[in-house]
């Protein structure tokens, strides 16, 4: 149990000021690595080269980089054409635009067509902050995971984002990866194991009473909540459930069986998100009391990332309260 904490987590993660790097940087690094490894990798961008961190690839492989202009639908279609012609295209934009605006092109021309395209949704979640609700993708996990043939990965930090980006080239077919903009705590290290489709226990206890299943940068809040709860005498477990489709059902069922109660944590609408995926699994195989941390059916607004996470109920205190509530429900109180 203590083992999981020491082996997998960044040493500074529980410091007062943990090391912070934007998750999107992992896209930039992973994309260049993927390009070095596979000459078939090409990158496409819709006038957001810098903020999607596509610049390094564009500089290193100018002949394999394509600027589409402000045209996300065309970007998806062009990628589909490349992806059925032996190339491995990565398309990058803000998640509200891609896979937001171009959802149908992704459905028909990439997913149904089974084109080998990797979709990078940037600036996802409410934490993109001051730009406001128009730019806060809080529906993308739902709209992507509902698609046949699609894989969905939500990395928790920059290292995991790099590994997830690189790993997308190991499978044939469409993959959606979600990245965020802000500097967020570095939870893992370059050596932390990452296998797509394999959830990792990041925090364990001798006798956990609740499984906190989280994805994305909120894995950090889940860990801090777990640590604080431990000091209050409540033992929990934190599962980093980075691959939402296909989900690691075995591991999820295993930890839920041990704990008997679940809190899911995601920076996304509760409807249709990662928590819903967990609920679908548990309803079918292991009905268990569950609380959902996420955005509760409303749009966001402008603000600082931490203010928004707090206002919309995804802070450490919210997770702790949810854990206490669900344990009460489990105990029939």
């Amino acid at each position: 149990m203590a083992l999981a904490r020491e082996q997998k987590l960044n040493k500074t993660v529980f410091n007062k000021n943990p090391e912070k790097i934007p998750i999107r940087n992992g896209y930039g690094e992973g994309l260049v690595e993927a390009g070095e490894k596979h000459p078939e990798v090409v990158a496409l961008c819709a006038d957001l080269k810098d903020s999607t961190k596509s610049t390094a690839f564009a500089k290193k492989f100018p002949e394999r980089f394509f600027e589409l202009g402000v045209a996300e639908q065309n970007m998806a279609g062009v990628a589909a054409g490349l992806g059925v012609s032996g190339k491995i295209p990565f398309i990058a934009s803000y998640a509200t635009f891609s896979p937001g605006r171009n959802w149908e092109q992704i459905r028909t021309n990439i997913s149904y067509n089974n084109a080998n395209v990797k979709i990078a949704g940037h600036h996802a979640g409410i934490s993109v902050g001051p730009d406001g609700a128009t730019h806060q993708a809080i529906e993308d996990i739902a709209t992507m995971r509902v698609m046949a043939n699609m894989r969905v990965i939500v990395p928790c930090d920059v290292h995991e984002a790099r590994k997830a980006t690189l790993s997308a080239t190991d499978v044939w077919g469409p993959v959606y990866i979600r990245y965020t903009r802000e500097e967020t705590p570095v939870i893992t290290s370059p050596d932390t194991p990452f296998y797509p489709g394999q959830a990792e226990v990041f925090w364990d206890s001798k006798d956990p009473k609740c499984a906190i299943i989280a994805c994305g940068s909120l894995v950090y809040n889940a860990l801090v909540a777990a640590k604080e709860l431990e000091s209050e005498g409540i033992e929990t477990l934190v599962l980093n459930n980075h691959t939402i489709k296909p989900m690691d059902n075995t591991r999820v069922l295993d930890v839920v069986k041990r704990c008997g109660a679940v809190v899911t944590v995601e920076e996304h609408q509760i409807e249709g998100g990662m928590g819903s995926a967990i609920a679908e699994l548990l309803a079918n195989q292991l009905p268990t009391p569950q609380e959902f941390i996420g955005i509760q059916g409303v749009f966001g607004e402008s603000g600082k990332p931490e203010e928004l996470i707090d206002k919309y109920g995804m802070a450490v205190k919210d997770i702790k309260l949810a854990v206490k509530r669900v344990i009460k429900r489990k105990n029939g109180k």
Binding site: G77, V78, V84, N109
Partner: protein
């Protein structure tokens, strides 16, 4: 012009065979799109039996020309042309739009070898053509990408995103063909949402544009040859066609866009298509 009289006659007879089979297949399917399928029979005949570099026995041949049917609803004409070309047995046409079939109502790349792109939702073909053309250019391959579109789907914004991108990148390995039959589901294109001046729009986006009679084999083939010869810009062929071509009661009538003939109408249509220009009865098949 490279066509001998014999070749021309062969192509015209083949187009007529294809029309008859389209009418049969659509009647049998009980739903589908008649007007566009019949209207494009000559273009599809020219492509599959003269223009395309392809091998029906090796549908995944790497150096084949690609054919994207952006307006997937007229896929019956493609299926029939493919069957006559030898991609699959003619009798499989009876499975059109039926359960457990490879002949889906709209083309699906994964289901039928020889279909290069999945389509149906309009306006998406040209983008995919651009991707295929980029891949060919990156790999130094010489095959061409043919993208067939309807006129109605020019109303989709996505078409113009793609047209802009193809113009910018001078993807001269693309030959796009618009079926300019002037009809769409709700009526005449110029009433529903005017497209003209269509030629000038594409020219402004950096394309070479050729207007042709889409029922004249010589003009179809000449235009595709001109497109091959131009190395500095993409080419659009605006093929002026008659919707429902060859069946008098369907011609020019937008009501036949998304309708199929019943048994009686089928018999009438086949009878008309068994003659040349509606006059001389012919027994060839």
């Amino acid at each position: 012009m490279y066509l001998s009289e014999k070749e021309q006659e062969f192509l015209e007879k083949t187009a007529n065979k294809i029309r008859r089979k389209i009418v049969e297949a659509l009647e049998d399917a009980g739903s589908g799109h008649s007007a566009g399928s019949l209207g494009m029979a000559d273009v599809f005949t020219a492509l599959y039996f003269h223009v395309l570099k392809h091998d029906p026995k090796k549908p995944n041949w790497e150096n084949r020309d690609r054919l994207i049917l952006s307006n997937g609803h007229i896929v019956p004409v493609q299926y029939v042309a493919m069957a006559y070309a030898g991609y699959f047995p003619l009798k499989e046409l009876k499975s059109l739009r039926k359960i457990h079939s490879r002949l889906q109502g709209h083309p699906h790349r994964e289901t039928l070898p020889g279909i290069d792109a999945t389509s149906g939702p309009l306006g998406a073909g040209l983008s995919q053509a651009a991707g295929m053309a980029l891949a060919a250019r990156l790999d130094g391959k010489k095959h061409r990408i043919y993208c067939l579109m309807s006129d109605g789907e020019q109303q989709e914004g996505l078409i113009w995103e793609a047209a802009m991108f193809i113009g910018k990148n001078k993807l001269s390995n693309i030959t796009a063909i618009i079926d300019r039959n002037n009809i769409q589901i709700d009526g005449l294109t110029e009433d529903v949402m005017p497209l003209e001046p269509l030629r000038e729009k594409y020219e402004a986006f950096g394309w070479n544009v050729i207007d042709i009679d889409g029922h004249n084999m010589e003009e179809i083939i000449d235009a595709t040859n001109e497109a091959k010869a131009i190395s500095y810009q993409p080419t659009l062929i605006i093929a002026h066609t008659i919707p429902g071509k060859g069946v008098s009661f369907m011609e020019y009538d937008f009501n036949w866009h998304g309708k199929v003939p019943n048994g009686q109408e089928k018999e009438r249509a086949i009878k008309e298509l068994r003659s040349i220009k509606g006059k001389i009865r012919s027994e060839y098949d």
